[in-house]
């Protein structure tokens, strides 16, 4: 008699996080490894409260719509398990629930913090000789997980960012007396998202003048000098900036004015760096025509502009996680290995979740240009294949049709 498995989602959503769930369910339909695929609502937080349902019993139609639905459709949480050496009560409870539902494999879709959860749970299971495997499935638009070539979710965010960079560049170009446009992307620690705007091109030429990344110490004087020069030359400047740029003291530029708050992991909540730069430009007297656009949650939820390759890869990491789940991969995360760039191909590999957890993959210094205000062709070649393909989404009354399980 077969046992069951469970899948849940954690951390910030992406456009394609549900594609991984769809892939996992499809994989079990093909390989028939488990009797049922359960889904937990709101990550470990919901599972601890037995918010569990049989997602493998869902209609094929619903699962296909779910594959093209953005944002954690199983709900999410930002729940950090305590170290089990300090307090194992939640571990015990989780194991108890798994036993109750005859769950022998536990799949967790998430980023850094979620891989920490996978590593802790598998270590606890191993220590206590429990027959439950814990396997991580990556997602994050930030693309900041180490080892994996890139993360599902990044390609679609990169596609949205480069698409709207192109469109808003045109919008910012219509008058004779144009001004300065600032596009603010997410990216607290890393500049992958901001960098993706390098793909935006008109007549084969990049439309973005400058890209400022958190990996490079932000120098206000240098910034104002290069903006002024470019504006005087072209009567127009298009800037892309990552929310996480910092000054030489390591302070976020956005903190110079923005309202401060912190999430439950102690990460500071940013936003507003575009407005800070706008005010700097105006105060310097370069021009008063400065517009700022903060993409906010659009960049992680714009399924209507997703990359088919990203959807396919998100599906595949879920598919392969289940397919190989009887092998000795507890405590591992499925990672993506780029096998070739032209034509692009990739495959799944399993890596230790603890090697992923709480580490950050920064933009390599040699992918940043020598003026430290843009990226190199290596970056362009790295991102370009990840945005490929127009998804064949489900529409209803000309709007995307979505399916979620958490409402």
């Amino acid at each position: 008699m077969m046992s069951n498995c469970i899948i849940a989602q954690s951390g910030g959503p992406t456009s394609v996080i549900n594609s991984s769930v769809a892939g996992l369910v499809a994989s079990n339909l093909k390989y028939k490894i488990y009797d049922k695929v359960y889904a937990g609502l709101n990550g470990v937080e919901g599972i601890l409260n037995e918010k569990i349902f049989d997602i493998s019993a869902c209609k094929e139609d619903d699962l296909n719509t779910f594959k093209f639905t953005p944002s954690s459709g199983l709900g999410s949480c930002r729940y950090k398990l305590k170290d089990f050496k300090e307090d194992e009560s939640e571990y015990k409870k989780l194991i108890e629930i798994c036993k109750k539902y005859d769950i022998t494999s536990f799949f967790y879709i998430g980023g850094n913090d979620s891989m920490d959860t996978v590593a802790k749970l598998s270590a606890y299971a191993e220590k206590n000789s429990l027959a439950i495997k814990f396997i991580g499935i990556p997602k994050t638009i930030d693309n900041d997980l180490p080892i994996t070539d890139h993360t599902p979710g990044f390609g679609s965010a990169a596609k949205f960012i480069s698409t709207v960079a192109l469109e808003t560049y045109l919008d910012a170009s219509v008058y004779k007396n144009n001004g300065i446009f600032i596009l603010e992307t997410m990216g607290r620690d890393t500049g992958w998202l901001a960098a993706s705007a390098c793909l935006a091109k008109l007549n084969g030429q990049p439309v973005v003048d400058f890209i400022y990344l958190p990996e490079i110490e932000f120098d206000t004087d240098k910034f104002l000098k290069e903006i002024k020069e470019r504006f005087n030359k072209n009567n127009q400047v298009y800037i892309v900036v990552s929310e996480g740029i910092k000054n030489s003291s390591g302070r976020f530029i956005s903190e110079l004015t923005a309202y401060q708050s912190h999430d439950s992991f102690g990460h500071s909540q940013l936003g507003g760096v575009g407005t800070v730069l706008k005010n700097l430009i105006i105060e310097e007297g370069i021009t008063k025509r400065v517009k700022c656009l903060e993409l906010g949650v659009l960049q992680r939820s714009a399924m209507h502009c997703a990359s088919q390759l990203d959807i396919d890869e998100a599906f595949k990491v879920g598919y392969d996680a289940l397919k190989h789940s009887l092998d000795n991969y507890s405590g591992c995360m499925v990672a993506i290995k780029r096998d070739s760039n032209n034509p692009y191909s990739s495959s799944s590999i399993f890596v230790k979740a603890k090697d992923v957890a709480n580490h950050v993959k920064y933009v390599p210094k040699n992918w940043i240009n020598s003026q430290c205000n843009g990226v190199t062709t290596e970056m362009e070649e790295y991102i370009a294949p990840l945005i490929e393909g127009i998804p064949n989404m489900v529409y209803e009354n000309s709007l995307p049709k979505f399916k979620v399980f958490n409402k």
Copy 2:
């Protein structure tokens, strides 16, 4: 021997303003009314400086790409002609240039202010018995032109707004402890854009809780009361607000804190009402989890999410403007008449530009719900057909391929 015509664009851009130019050029290819179709760069401002080229000589491929390119690809201006009774020097210069290029029809794509220009120029030509016709072609995402059923550009903006309302609603729903989401649309005087979010539905149910329109006096106490009640009931509220909402003294709510400036027509430049509402909610102690997203120029440039019907209608008003330009329509604007709603069909009619100019079409009071915080099914039925169809855009490396003439 045939004479020539000229087309130019004015005012704020839309996603489909270039489709009207493509339609006009296609119409001349079909009806061969003019020898050449000239295009003026940056509206009358550029024409006065002889920034003119033969757009009918362009390659078919380029014109097709142009049809799917957002933002005024001929460049735009915000140039208000003086009354010719006060100063006719610019009128004389424009007529001189038209004579030089043997131009007998002048097409101007724009909104309120541009129709004012069309009305003035045609009145001047009539008064001086000049054989030049001036014909207006409508565009504005605001949908605030009278007489015409709707304006080209509105359908695509409405589609983008309703699509991202749906996507960001899902993003705002992933946690157990959800907050309040505020989507800020454009719409200085009218609520058409904000209203379009009523189309966003999940499982057939609208996702937007409240829509606040400029047509309704904004009452802070009532607002806080209804937000509090809904939040206590659902642990989540999704709000759409038009930038132009005003209080009982007629002051913009955004002016309560926002930086003030004015454009060259004396319109105040708004933005930031979402942040004002956010602060009101936080100060009232309803919740601290309030996110605000200002769509800004995305809603008028997101061709990647345009409505095919909107593109077709923008094309058709350009097409019909030229087709009927030998008739007695100087001083007129092509308007759209809705012939039937289900199935939707429309036709072009010609209306006096001066009846359009400087008038505003507000959302009718009986299309606003009795609580004054949303819209009725009449509004939904009015907008729904306008967002129909997924455009068959031109792509290059999985990004939209665009063609403009002003760079």
